[in-house]
Symmetry: C2
Subunit: 128 residues, 2 copies
C-alpha cells in the first residue's frame, strides 16, 4: 500500500489529500494517513495541515528507491526471524545455532535490500 500511495503521489505531481489517496487504494483515509505518517517521519513525503492541506513527495521520484519505502514502513522488522525460545545451556546446537543462522539471514536480507535499492519510484511511475 505504501508503494501504491507513493506511486500515486509521483503520478499526480501536485498536493493531494488522504481522502483522494484512499480512493485509489480503495481503503480508509485513516489507514492511508497512518502509512503517510511513517513515510513522513522517514522524510519521504511532506504533509500540510489545515484547509487545502495534503501530501506530496519530499523529493524527486528518481531519488526515492523501493528500499527507502521498505525501510520507512518495515523499519525494524526482518524478512525472516530467529525463534526466541530460551537456550538449553546443556546443548551446543541450542547455544550456537542462532548466531550462525543470523549471519546467513543477514546476508540474504542484504541481497533483498540491494534489489529494492535498484528500483526508483520514477521507474514505477513511468510504467503507469
Amino acid at each position: 500500500m505504501a508503494v501504491h500511495i507513493m506511486t500515486a503521489l509521483a503520478y499526480v505531481k501536485e498536493k493531494i489529500s488522504s481522502e483522494q489517496l484512499a480512493n485509489t487504494v480503495n481503503t480508509n483515509p485513516v489507514v492511508v494517513r497512518r502509512i503517510l505518517g511513517a513515510l513522513n517521519r522517514a522524510g519521504l513525503v511532506c504533509a500540510e495541515r489545515g484547509k487545502v492541506g495534503g501530501f506530496s513527495l519530499a523529493r524527486a521520484s528518481k531519488d526515492i528507491s523501493l528500499l527507502d519505502i521498505y525501510r520507512a514502513i518495515l523499519a525494524k522488522q526482518k524478512l525472516v526471524n530467529l525463534h526466541d525460545n530460551p537456550q538449553n545451556r546443556a546443548c551446543a546446537v541450542s547455544c550456537k545455532v542462532r548466531g550462525v543462522l543470523s549471519t546467513h539471514l543477514k546476508q540474504a536480507q542484504s541481497a533483498y535490500e540491494r534489489e529494492l535499492k535498484k528500483v526508483a519510484l520514477a521507474d514505477i511511475e513511468k510504467s503507469m
Copy 2:
C-alpha cells in the same frame, strides 16, 4: 526453529525423538512434530513411528540448503506481499501498480533465495 531442528539432526547423526528435539529448542514436542511434518513432506527428513521411532535426515547435510528448509516451511508465502484491496477502475495507478511492483518484488525474492541456496546445512553443522 526448523533450521535449529535440522541442525540438531545433522549434529547427532542418529535417530532422535521429537521429545529430545523439543528439549534443544526449548519448546513442546507437538510444535516440533508439526515442523517435522512439513520437513518430512518436503522429503528432508525420515520419520519412523512406533517404539524406538524418531527422526533423521533424509540425505547428507551437505546436500540440504537453507533454501530447501525455507521452502519446506514457508512454501507459498512471499517475503513481502501486495495489498489485495479491489482496484479502482477509474485510476491508472490503482490498475497497474500491483503488476509492476510484483515483478520487482519477485526479483528481490529471488536474490534472497539465491543467498539461502548458497548455505548448506553442513556449513552450519560445522560451526557447532
